[in-house]
């Protein structure tokens, strides 16, 4: 790859792309061999900063074995090594280890995607020092000590793949590098020329919380963070908001007991953005008033609320079936006008086309540019993934309610829309079928990591599924609470933690109803 190694000219202008956008763009080209030229072009057009791509160039030109890939204020992802046989630095690396190392604070993995050959995403392994864990979007890894600060994604040998991680961690003030070749930590040298706040290197053995610090944690917010700290304050980047710093500490002490956390504003463009939306129906019912909501890529948002709170209206607005009377709704920054296949709406009923077989139902909605054989193959594989293999030629009316819903899910997944909008899709199913649909949907979400907005009035359903809860209130429809849900995968309705949360959320719903004592919202 022949690139201007100086790159100072390009760096001088503000970069218009982040690394994530760069990688997305390079991937969208589809052709690995075309990427160096494309990169060169992007550099010459100054669409991307030299800083962002330098590691790749270094790797290509100098055979560097340890290199910083990207650092933003909140996180740092590094590709530490990869093998000589790798096809390219961005796609199809072989045996690379990506290290995410926040020191102090916590790592929140909001999105990951690992693409093996043939584009089949699968979960990368997050390996701290200790037993391997699955890297699960939406979960929080509390970093209790330095020994756990290193999170490495190891790629199994022989599988070419690209890993894109969107990680939010806060605050990140110091970094260490794990030397995969020697199995030791090395220090990151101070970089005076780096963009963003300079890295402060902490004294290595610190960061184990001392008991004396514990009582400070539950202090009400608003108290300035640095004052409450001893010793670590120097490591905290000065520009970060006090609450962010504080929350890191809070979380560390409360650990996993703190399941509901305020949704914090995220950097980067929202996938779906709702700004000051209001909607009145023709009969002057004010379905939505002043609703603003940002949904980020990979989130599983449950809209929860009593009937008439406008949650379905909001969903249909996102789908484009309703154009709101006021405000703006965007997808990836583009205003939403009308329904589109990139935002797939699933309804309460399976809504299969009754005159087509199960498989034809899927092939019919697929892109006409695919050949017939491709469409059939895709339909079959998606039907298998929802355990409907062998029912390809059944007619919809021959299926049970749960099977119809699964077929409908397969149809929705087959078009591979990045956003799934679901309007109480499991409301008409019996409890047992619904639970199996929950498991299926969770596995789909973890596998494909789509952005999902899910409307429900069932608290337990919302808690089992969501990574974020948006509680709405009626008359006029508005957002009452917006909380992140810090629960790992494999949640079960009978978990005590979940039941405790359910009580808490039902309290919110009673508040939404405005009837504090006798609202029965248990679905």
């Amino acid at each position: 790859m022949e690139v201007d190694t100086q790159g100072r000219g390009a760096r001088a202008t503000a970069a218009s792309w982040t690394l994530t956008e760069l990688v997305t763009w390079l991937r969208s080209l589809g052709d690995v061999r075309a990427q160096p030229q494309a990169l060169q072009r992007a550099l010459s057009e100054r669409r991307v900063s030299w800083e962002a791509v330098r590691p790749y160039v270094q790797l290509a030109q100098e055979g560097c074995r340890r290199v910083r890939v990207h650092r933003e204020e909140a996180f740092e992802v590094r590709v530490v090594t990869w093998s000589a046989g790798a096809a390219g630095p961005i796609q199809d690396h072989d045996r690379q280890t990506t290290c995410i190392t926040p020191v102090l604070g916590l790592v929140e993995v909001t999105d990951w995607r690992q693409v093996r050959r043939r584009n089949r995403p699968g979960p990368p392994r997050l390996e701290p020092e200790g037993p391997p864990r699955l890297l699960v979007p939406g979960t929080v890894e509390v970093v209790p000590s330095y020994s756990d600060a290193m999170q490495a994604v190891r790629v199994p040998p022989g599988l070419g793949m690209a890993v894109t991680l969107h990680i939010e961690a806060q605050p990140v003030t110091a970094v260490r590098i794990f030397d995969a070749a020697h199995g030791t930590y090395i220090r990151q040298p101070q970089r005076a020329d780096a963009e963003g706040p300079p890295l402060a290197l902490p004294d290595m053995p610190a960061a184990t919380p001392t008991p004396g610090e514990a009582p400070e944690a539950p202090a009400p917010s608003g108290a300035p963070g640095p004052k409450t700290r001893t010793g670590k304050a120097a490591e905290v980047a000065p520009g970060l908001p006090a609450t962010a710093r504080k929350r890191g500490w809070l979380r560390r002490f409360l650990g996993k007991a703190d399941y509901l956390v305020p949704t914090e504003g995220r950097s980067g463009q929202a996938k779906l953005s709702v700004t000051d939306v209001e909607h009145s129906y023709a009969n002057d019912v004010e379905a939505l008033r002043g609703v603003s909501l940002d949904v980020h890529s990979g989130e599983f948002v449950c809209l929860l609320g009593p009937s008439g709170c406008g949650k379905s209206t909001l969903l249909y607005t996102l789908a484009g079936h309703i154009s709101p009377t006021g405000g703006e709704v965007t997808l990836d920054g583009q205003p939403i006008r009308g329904p589109g296949p990139e935002r797939l709406l699933m309804f309460q009923e399976a809504a299969l086309f009754p005159w087509l077989t199960v498989q034809q139902n899927v092939t019919f909605v697929l892109d006409r540019r695919l050949s017939g054989a491709q469409r059939r193959e895709r339909a079959r594989s998606h039907l298998r993934s929802v355990q409907l293999g062998g029912f390809e030629n059944a007619m919809p009316h021959q299926l049970s309610g749960g099977m119809k819903m699964r077929a409908s899910l397969a149809r929705a997944l087959a078009v591979d829309a990045p956003v799934l909008l679901m309007d109480e899709p499991f409301g008409s199913l019996d409890a047992q079928t619904r639970e199996s649909m929950h498991r299926l949907l969770m596995s789909v979400w973890m596998r494909t990591h789509k952005t999902i907005v899910f409307v429900t009035h069932d608290v337990t359903e919302a808690l089992v599924l969501a990574s974020r809860l948006v509680v709405m209130a009626p008359r006029p429809g508005r957002i009452l609470h917006d909380v992140g849900l810090r629960l790992g995968p494999g949640r079960r309705p009978e978990d005590p933690a979940l039941q405790a949360l359910a009580r808490q959320v039902r309290g919110m719903l009673r508040e939404a109803e405005g009837a504090p004592d006798h609202a029965q919202l248990d679905a």
């Binding site: 086309f353 005159w355 909605v365 078009v415």
Partner: protein
């Protein structure tokens, strides 16, 4: 009808048939009209077989059916798109629907004088009458069918980005198919009546001509034989074409029960 087994039903039907034939026979022998004005059933059947044997019946049937097929086919070709357009576009619907409903009230045979002036004594005139007799029925039933399509399916189609002809042919038409088939069956009987009325009024081959000739030659057996034949054809088309079609659509669409 409560608790009628198939065998009972068959017995009842056969009984009614025998009774009908017996009554006919009795009236023809003892009724007010002379035998040559009301031949008994056996003479009619004998005449029917006679005409079938000498080929005159088959020729007439072929001529009539060929006209019907052309007229009915043309009616479908015009009526289906018209019905879909009415169901899809509010403008077309508001503009065309009252006109269609009004014209539907006009018996199709009223078009014959115009048709004769416009097309002369040709097949085209009769085909025109047949088309006018059935096209509106097709359009209305397709329109009703399209408007009765489950709005959820349309939303689904919208969310998958299915529009234009793919929506019309891939979703609207099949979704409306059960009522379209019913409409087609109705339109078929309209077309059949329009055809015979037209054929009766001017001589040009076909079953209508056989009827007219029979009347003019006082061959009442022939008239009645042709009438029987017309009834049989109507039943046969229903049983051979429409019943299986309706049944297939019902089975495919998963509609419960039969109507």
């Amino acid at each position: 009808m409560r608790s009628s087994t198939p065998r009972m039903r068959l017995l009842q039907r056969a009984g009614a048939g025998v009774l009908f034939v017996a009554l006919w026979w009795a009236i023809s022998h003892f009724g007010p009209w002379p035998r040559f004005l009301l031949p008994d059933p056996f003479e009619v059947v004998k005449r029917l077989f006679g005409m079938a044997a000498d080929g005159s019946l088959w020729g007439a049937i072929l001529v009539s059916m060929w006209r019907l097929i052309r007229g009915y086919g043309l009616a479908l070709l015009i009526g289906l798109p018209l019905g879909i357009a009415m169901g899809q576009s509010v403008v077309v619907r508001n503009a065309v629907r009252p006109l269609v409903m009004g014209l539907q009230a006009l018996p199709s045979i009223c078009w014959l004088p115009l048709a004769l002036l416009w097309f002369g004594l040709t097949d085209a005139a009769i085909i025109f009458v047949v088309v006018m007799g059935s096209v509106l029925g097709v359009a209305i039933s397709v329109n009703d069918g399209v408007e009765g399509v489950d709005p959820l399916l349309l939303k689904v189609a919208g969310t998958f980005g299915i529009r234009g002809t793919r929506l019309q042919l891939g979703v609207l038409l099949p979704a409306a198919m059960p009522s379209i088939v019913t409409g087609m069956k109705l339109a078929w009987s309209f077309a059949w009546r329009a055809l015979l009325a037209g054929e009766l009024l001017f001589v040009s081959g076909g079953l209508g001509e056989l009827l007219t000739i029979g009347r003019e030659l006082l061959e009442i057996a022939q008239v009645m034989a042709v009438m029987v034949c017309i009834v049989l054809i109507g039943l046969a088309v229903d049983f051979i074409a429409f019943r299986p079609l309706q049944e297939a659509v019902r089975r495919r669409w998963g509609i419960e029960g039969t109507a």
